[in-house]
């Protein structure tokens, strides 16, 4: 049975961490908005957005060993990867398909985030395929620890694998097989399901006959938890517990973050055909950034002056990133031929 969690490790987060979390959520939103604008201007081919998911993603990122633990994300995870160390310029370079694009030299599609340096594994376009691979990453962690190849307490090494996907993608066989694998081998594995109620136009009921994805975890011997995904600290708490369990060798966890995508599925979608404007407006009121902002203001951690400063800084960073990417060279034609095989 899925349970809500009551322990609040986030209570121990320092003000500077809370502000950094807020800053990353805000920065992600502004980068994301710029990408939509670039698409409208015809400057980029495609955009798929994380708007509305920033709380779930930044909460999860801060709960693991950022940039060290393995993360196998999905296309909405812009805020997550910014929190792991991808920069706005990196992202813009990928949108424009420029030669020195960080993840693949403009081979990979944008939002298929990947960085060896940060242990972010690049996904493929078919959904849920990252889940068995993340189980494999976790399998390797446990294998190496048991074989004495790494010290299980060495925090410079990846000690868990976190993978993310939408609720609709849990209909995919690879999700079930990956979850079962993680359960059977009791791996240091976390599956973060970003449940935004829709898979393109299809509502959750069209994907599954249960009300919580987390309820399914029990069937695999995986601990299942669901949380309010628009509450960054609630997600932090849940993923923190999951990460500690993984580090202690206590096995896998599924964390379902209930959230909402406040924009269309992608730049190819018109969401008016399947959901009402009233519904979207209702959810915009529950925006994770506004909510965290209010919390931080109430706690006296954030001030209006500092918020202004963040906004100014975000705009400057986004401008700088866009200009850098626009000015950068495109790949040469011959670049296509390299790297098909390892030498």
């Amino acid at each position: 049975m899925a349970t809500k969690i009551f322990a609040r490790p986030s209570a121990r987060l320092k003000a500077e961490h809370l502000l950094e979390m807020f800053w990353l959520m805000l920065l992600s939103r502004r980068v994301d908005e710029r990408a939509w604008a670039l698409h409208r201007q015809g400057k980029i081919a495609f955009h798929i957005s994380g708007m509305g998911h920033e709380g779930a993603q930044v909460g999860a990122a801060f709960a693991i060993n950022r940039g060290v633990d393995y993360v196998h994300p999905y296309y909405r995870d812009l805020a997550l990867v910014l929190a792991l160390g991808i920069t706005p310029t990196d992202f813009m370079m990928s949108l424009f398909g420029k030669k020195d694009e960080y993840s693949s030299k403009a081979r990979q599609m944008p939002s298929h985030f990947g960085s060896k340096k940060l242990n972010i594994v690049s996904g493929s376009s078919p959904v849920a395929t990252q889940v068995p691979q993340a189980a494999g990453l976790a399998f390797a962690i446990k294998y190496k620890q048991q074989a004495g190849l790494v010290n299980p307490d060495d925090s410079t090494q990846p000690r868990l694998a976190l993978t993310c996907l939408g609720e609709g993608s849990t209909s995919q066989g690879e999700w079930h097989e990956g979850m079962n694998w993680a359960g059977v081998h009791q791996l240091p594995f976390i599956c973060l399901v970003e449940n935004n109620l829709y898979a393109i136009s299809v509502p959750q009921e069209g994907q599954m006959a249960v009300s919580n994805v987390a309820d399914r975890a029990a069937a695999y011997g995986v601990k299942g938890i669901w949380v309010d995904g628009n509450d960054v600290l609630a997600v932090y708490d849940a993923v923190y517990e999951a990460a500690q369990r993984a580090y202690r060798g206590e096995g896998p966890t599924l964390v379902e973050a209930k959230t909402y995508r406040v924009v269309p599925h992608s730049s190819d979608d018109d969401d008016r055909s399947y959901r009402s404007r009233e519904e979207v407006e209702e959810w915009k009121k529950k925006d994770p950034i506004l909510r965290f902002e209010k919390y931080l203001m109430d706690e006296g951690i954030l001030t209006p002056e500092r918020l202004d400063e963040y906004e100014t800084r975000a705009r400057a960073e986004v401008d700088r990133a866009q200009h850098a990417a626009e000015a950068a060279p495109y790949p040469a034609e011959t670049d296509a031929l390299d790297e098909v095989y390892a030498d």
Partner: protein, 326 residues
């Protein structure tokens, strides 16, 4: 009735709609075929017209879509399953190859599997390596499955209707780049084109261009350009990779003695390889030049626009290949 001008997506929609009206057992299922009107708008208006019973939005479960189609077909329905893009059919391969294609044979004909899997195919949209496949030859490799790949709205209508009416499983791919291309389409609801029959899309006597789907478009463009230089190409549109109508190719080749095969997909173990092999096996005495192949470049497809276009075939590459065999 006169022919009507419409894009390929509308011709496909017309075919599907007519067959659903004609036969209550025909139903469509797939991701986003209902409220979203189909990823490529082929099922536009179907949910309103036919209701949820016959227009099923499915979970994101390609294996179950194909597997359930096999089951429903064995039980006497005639499913038309849509896989959003052929790339996702890789997740359904076992149901398609080990089941749909084998059941009739393995049960000695006791069960039939009258199902169609429709999928958009092709690249050129910066959708990159895992999202841009044109893998029709992989499916055509396996006996027991028919594989249809139309190149015009007219053919799309006649071929899809034949696929739905046939008692064998059919994989039917629709070139993404061609959904919006218009052409004349017969409005009669008995317009059905035979499975496995190629079509001469242009007559010529100097060289035979053998192609399917988007390759036909590049071949026709190349033929147009070459005609200005006095080189007359005959363009054979195979339409079906299974059954493969080699007799039509042989007839053309006897006249031209030269051949270029044009395909959107990759060069290794390909449509081009098959056609070339059969030509040398059966037409050796008629051969005046080696058979040339124009295919995509042998790399996974990159995102960056320029290099993506470089990796793709086009009309100019066909022109160049023709000049090498003339």
């Amino acid at each position: 009735m006169a022919d009507k001008n419409m894009p390929m997506r509308e011709a496909l929609r017309m075919a599907l709609r007519e067959e659903m009206i004609r036969d209550e057992r025909v139903f469509v299922m797939g991701e986003e075929v209902g409220a979203w009107q189909g990823t490529h708008r082929v099922t536009r208006g179907f949910l309103d017209e036919f209701g949820e019973k016959r227009v099923r939005d499915t979970p994101i479960s390609e294996m179950a879509i194909a597997g359930a189609a096999v089951g429903a077909a064995m039980a006497g329905l005639r499913p038309v399953a849509e896989i959003m893009t052929i790339n996702f059919a890789f997740l359904s391969l076992d149901a398609i190859i080990n089941h749909a294609a084998k059941i009739h044979y393995m049960f000695n004909g006791q069960f039939r599997v009258p199902m169609v899997i429709r999928a958009a195919s092709g690249w050129g949209d910066q959708a990159t390596a895992t999202h841009s496949h044109t893998p029709e030859p992989i499916f055509a490799h396996f006996p027991g499955l028919y594989v249809g790949c139309p190149s015009t709205p007219r053919d799309a209508k006649g071929m899809l209707k034949a696929a739905i009416r046939d008692d064998n499983p059919v994989l039917f791919t629709e070139s993404i780049a061609m959904y919006s291309k218009p052409g004349l389409v017969p409005e009669e609801d008995d317009f059905v084109l035979p499975i496995g029959k190629a079509d001469i899309k242009r007559e010529g006597r100097h060289v035979t261009l053998v192609a399917y789907a988007r390759g036909v478009e590049w071949s026709l463009q190349a033929a147009e350009q070459l005609a200005k230089e006095g080189i007359e190409c005959e363009v054979v549109d195979m339409r079906w990779l299974r059954p493969l109508d080699m007799p039509t190719v042989f007839e053309s080749f006897k006249k031209t003695n030269r051949c270029v095969v044009v395909e959107e997909s990759l060069p290794y173990y390909s449509f081009g390889s098959e056609v070339a092999a059969q030509l040398q096996e059966h037409m050796f005495d008629y051969m005046d030049a080696p058979v040339k192949r124009v295919s995509a470049m042998d790399v996974p497809l990159p995102y960056a626009r320029e290099i993506e276009l470089m990796a793709l075939p086009n009309a100019q590459k066909v022109v160049d290949a023709v000049k090498e065999v003339i």
